[in-house]
Structure formats: C-alpha cells, structure tokens
Symmetry: none
Subunit: 193 residues, 4 copies
DNA sequence: TATGAATGAGAATTCATTCAT
DNA sequence: GATGAATGAATTCTCATTCAT
C-alpha cells in the first residue's frame, strides 16, 4: 500500500529532524556530523541524502520550522485575548515569545543567530500565521500617518530588538537577566510605537 | 639584541592576524583552515600554535580587536566635534559606526554575529576608549532620574538595535538598504533616549 | 547477498591484521604509523577506523590472538602425545613454546613485553584452549595437598619464568643462548613442581 | 670560576633527570615529550640536547641509575646483617627489593619492562655494588659442584622470576597481590637454590 | 654555554559522499 | 527506497630538531 510507504518515509524524515535538532541544540552545529544525526535517528547514512542536501539544508529547514512555530504560537495566543489598546496586544505578543524562550533556551540559542529577516520574509510567503503578525501591526497603526513601509520597518526593529535582548539576557545574562530587562524593554517598545 | 627577536615575533603574529582576518572575511570562518592562514601569512604551521590555541582563539582576538577599533574610532571622532545636545552627539557616534560598516561590509559580517555584549564588557576592562562611550552616555543622562543601571541597559539596547539594523540592512538588504533605514532608526533612537 | 559483503569485510580486517603484525614486528610499534598499516593492507585510511579504535587497539588484539595461538598450539600438540609423568608432559608443553619462539623471534619480541597475566586471564574466558593448560596442570597436582590457588600461582610462576628466560636468551642472548639455558631452566622447573 | 659553571651544569642536568623521571613514571614514556621535560625542568629546549641525544638516551640512563640504586641499596642493607644460612641472606635481599617496589610502584613500572639482563650486565662493569650480588651468590654456592656459569644462570633466573612476580602482582594484582605471592615465591626460590 | 622561536614533516583522525547490494 | 561499507581528501595538531642570538 502506498500510504504505508509514505508513512514510513515521513517517519524517517521526522526522526532525522528530531535527531538533528537535538544534536544542534546540545552539541552545537559545527560539532554535529551527519553520522551523528543518522545514528541518533536510527537510519542509514545514505538515507540522510534522500531527504536533505547536506547539514545546512536540514539546519535551515529546522530553523524555519521552529521560528514559525514560535511566532505562530505567539500570534495564536494573542488572538485568543482581546485588548483595549494595540500597545497591550503587541506587548502580550512580545511577552509570549520571551516566556517561550525562557523555557527553551536551547532553541533560542539555535534560532537567534540564524533567524534572519530573510528567513522571516520567506516564512511570510509560506506560513499563514506570519501574515497575522503583520496584520496585527498594521491594524495597530491604521489611524497613523505612517506609510506601510515605515510600519514594517518599525515592526522589524521591534522584533530585532526583542531578539537581541532575549539572546543576550537569557543566554549570556548580559547586561543582566531577562526579568530585569523586561520592564525597560517594554518601556522602550512603548516609546517606539 | 632582544628587541630584534621581539620585533620579529610581532611581525609574525601580525601577519597571522592579517591573514586570518582576510580569509575569515572573504572565505568564511568554517571554510578557512589553519593551513590556509599560515600559507597566506608566510609562516610555518607550527608557528600558528606558538601564538594561538586554535582557529577560534585567533577569531575571538580578531573580533575583539576590530570591534574595539571601530568603537574607539567612533568615540574619538565624536569627541573631536562639539554638540549642543546629547542627542546629536549620540547620533553622530551611531552614524559614524554605520558609515564605517557601510564601507567595510566584510568586517561587519565577521563582527556582528560574534560581537556579544560579553565581548563588549570584556573590552570595557582592557580598552580605555570604551570607557568614553559609557562616559558620553552617562553625561547625557546626568540630569535625568534614571538609575545608572537603567542608563546602561538603554545604551545596551541602542547598540544592539543599531547592530541588528546594520547587519540586516547592510548585509542582507532586509527589510531595505541602510540609507532607507537610517531615518527611521534615528527617529527610533531619539524616542528611546 | 549478505555473505559477500561479510566476506569482504573479513578480508579487509584480516589484511589490516596481517599488515599491522608485519610492521609491528619488523619496524617496531612506535615506528609504525597507521598510514603505513593501511598502505600495506591496501585499504583506505578511513577503513582502519571502521575496525579499530587506534594503533593500540589493533596491537592488543594482535597480541591476544598470537598469544592464544601459541599456547593453543602447544597444548594441542601436547595432548597428541601420552606421557608417563606429569613432569614430562609439562616440560613437553614448555619445550614446544620455546621451540616455537626460537623459530619466530619477532613474534616473541612483540608478545613478550605485552603478554601479561592479565591478557592471559582474559584469554581464559574467551579461548577454550587455555582451559586445557589449567586442566593439564591441575590434573598433575590432583594428588598433592596444594590448594587450587597455590597450584595456579605455581603455574603462573613457571610461565612467567619461561617467558622471561625465552625473551632474554632468544632475543638478547643474555645471559647466554636459549639452548644453553634450556637444561637449567628445565632443571629449575622440575624443582618447582 | 670553573667550579661554579660546573656546578650550574650539574644542576641543569639533575633537574632534567628529575623532571624526566617524574614525567615518565606519571604520564608514561610515549606520552612524555621533550618539551614537557624541559618545561618541568625549567631549562630551555636547546639545553636538553647539550646533555642528551634524545628521549631514549635520558630514559636509558634513568633506568640504569634507578636499577642500580635499588640493587645497591638491597645489597648494602643485606650486608649490614649477618645470616646463618645463604638461603636466609638471599631471601632477605629479595625481600628488600620487593618491599622497595611495594613502596614505589611507579619506579617498578618504569624499570621492569626495560630492566634487561643486558643493562644489568652493563651495570656490572660500572657499578661496584653489583659485584657484591654476584659475590653473595657465588659464596653461597662455593661448596657445591655447580660451575660458575650455572650459578650465574640460576641467579639470573631468580632475579627474572622475582621481577616478573613483582611486576605482575604489585602493578596488575595478578594472579593476586604481592603479599599473597611472597610465601610461594620464597618457597619456590628455596627450591631453586 | 644557554636560549627559545621557528620550522615543517608527518601523525592521527574526521567526515561528507558515493555506490553496490 | 534503504542500506552502510568504503573511500581518501582534508584538517588539526604535535614535536624533534635546528640555529641565530
């Protein structure tokens, strides 16, 4: 039966993803070899090449998946609530992301240095959830005189700032822990919007 | 005579730095082998290990040197001018850095993903010029009610934001080129301070 | 077919063993590089690491194999004959080993400095032939009042003494050649048992 | 003044010996590099080559010194006592050596695999104390009908046996600890002489 | 004598990729 | 599709030895 073969393929692909993610986050990207991945995934070496071009191929796909997952979750949760002000909505969204990363430092570490605006843009096309983020932001500014471009640039800066602060304070504890950074980060974001 | 040997050592070390920097920026870090570095530097392989532990040792030292050089240049140039407002002074400083990176994209690429606040803090101890940046910032806030910690956190966020925007817009042209980003970045920084 | 691949693997492994043994005995262990072994074996460098951890891994396995081979041969030959006295049987066994080493000095040289009682004990578990040696010895003492432990210690001393004498007289000709040492060695062993 | 220079030379040579001995016994011979030795000795790399040809040169000299030291101490102590029987005298001598090695396992480990009869013979020429051992043994046999050669061979076997048993039981605890081996070793030696 | 920077050959080891089964 | 043995180029790192000072 075809579906059984297809299912088997999906299982193999999935186990490669899982194994690679685990190794990338714990050992690091440079220190992870394809032979490590296949060993952990329990498949043969050649099988890896049936699904991915090389280590960076699977890495990129993981980054994209995980990034979109986080952002998607954040927007989904945000939409479950109702807010009086756009400001509150945005900060709820940002806060959700921060709390997510607080709980999963390893993912933050993996994603951050690789989550470029480029990948985000790519996701924009493929992942419906991402549209929502833009939507949220643009609705928030709909009464302002700002151009669409400037709105996007502002969103971009807020996300980059949030990412930088998360990475620095959660991973490196610099300049201090995330809980100490949050108030001033939120104050800053409020000033920006 | 001692000075001759010492001078020779300095030359070798310098040529290793130069060669490594050139290769890291043009070929990339992963793609640069130590044998490439020594070949380019014109020294023997063993000589590399007299000066550096491994590839990442020389990389870290390069990052630190270059980062401090840029920041030092920026603060030095800023101090040559006189400004009416702290805001103008800070933006001049930021602008100097941006223009620097515009001219030297390769350095930006190398530095950014590695210029963590940690390295910046380390530089704070060893490199006098960095003190000046704090000084500039703290003088600018001396009449405010902000605590020293909050001032530092704000400086930190401005630098991280600037770095992120530079990297994204100069290297990736995302969300747009740096010249289009500058106005809104400056406006944002003004809001923050 | 599985057997073909398996057979091929065995061939490669065997050729590595043979090449390593030849090089260890002729050039010496320290002077033999893994690249020498694979070149002689006619396999790729990476193949070595498919079968062995490093040079000392293959060395240990060679020592064990060869040691057990010699002892196994000796006990096998001894059992082909019938003896009136245990003394004669033991001396035949010892003599077989000595004659073997006389003909294969290189093996003696390789084995001796590494054939510890530990390896012998390890062999005891895996190699059936070794049981026979104990059996022979314990049968020889079955009427005595000696404890099993003391019998084993005695066997141990005889083997160590024989090994020492072989090495010294065959390899170094010290204090004299093996043929001059044999009578007094045998006389000594007779006194011991 | 010449004597001062001479003294300085002796100090350097001595520190090289001490450093090399410490490293050989703790790290092992193969794992000790000349650069380790000179670093530990606190002299320059070139200085090593003023005193020794290579690593094995200093190793051989260390082995010879240490071996002769042990044997010399043993014979010196033995001569301080008086014995009724030669047997007692010999066993006292052997026991002294065993106790020495019990206290200094590292030295035993270093010496044993390298203390060949050849080095012992070499010592015979240069080190007066060693004559005493022969003397002791030959006096013990002076009433027997044994030839001088056979006496020497017997001494040789006793020393080899003792060395083997020491190494195996003290270092490897095989077949058991030295204190359990001593009674049967002594009994065996008594049978031999 | 003594130094120690420099050398560079060469050893060990890894690993992406292929391909016959 | 799946396997995993084999490859061998590439890379890191060591270390004995030299020699100008």
């Amino acid at each position: 039966m075809i579906s059984k073969i297809e299912k088997n393929k999906k299982i193999k692909e999935k186990s490669l993803y899982t194994a690679a993610y685990d190794l990338f986050t714990t050992k690091g990207i440079n220190e992870t070899a394809i032979s490590d991945i296949v060993k952990k995934a329990g498949v043969a070496k050649g099988t890896f090449y049936l699904y991915f071009k090389d280590k960076y191929d699977i890495l990129d796909k993981i980054i994209l998946n995980k990034s979109c997952h986080v952002l998607g979750e954040a927007i989904r949760q945000t939409k479950l609530n109702s807010f009086n002000k756009f400001e509150d909505e945005l900060l709820y969204f940002i806060d959700y992301i921060i709390e997510y990363f607080k709980k999963d430092k390893l993912m933050l570490k993996l994603i951050y240095k690789n989550l470029s605006w480029g990948i985000f843009k790519k996701a924009y096309k493929d992942y419906e959830e991402i549209h929502e983020i833009y939507g949220l932001f643009e609705r928030g500014y709909e009464d302002s005189s700002l151009s669409k471009e400037d709105i996007d640039k502002t969103l971009f800066m807020i996300i980059e700032l949030t990412g930088s602060v998360c990475y620095s304070s959660i991973i490196l504890n610099e300049p201090t822990g995330i809980d100490d950074m949050k108030p001033i980060l939120f104050k800053t974001i409020k000033k920006i919007i």
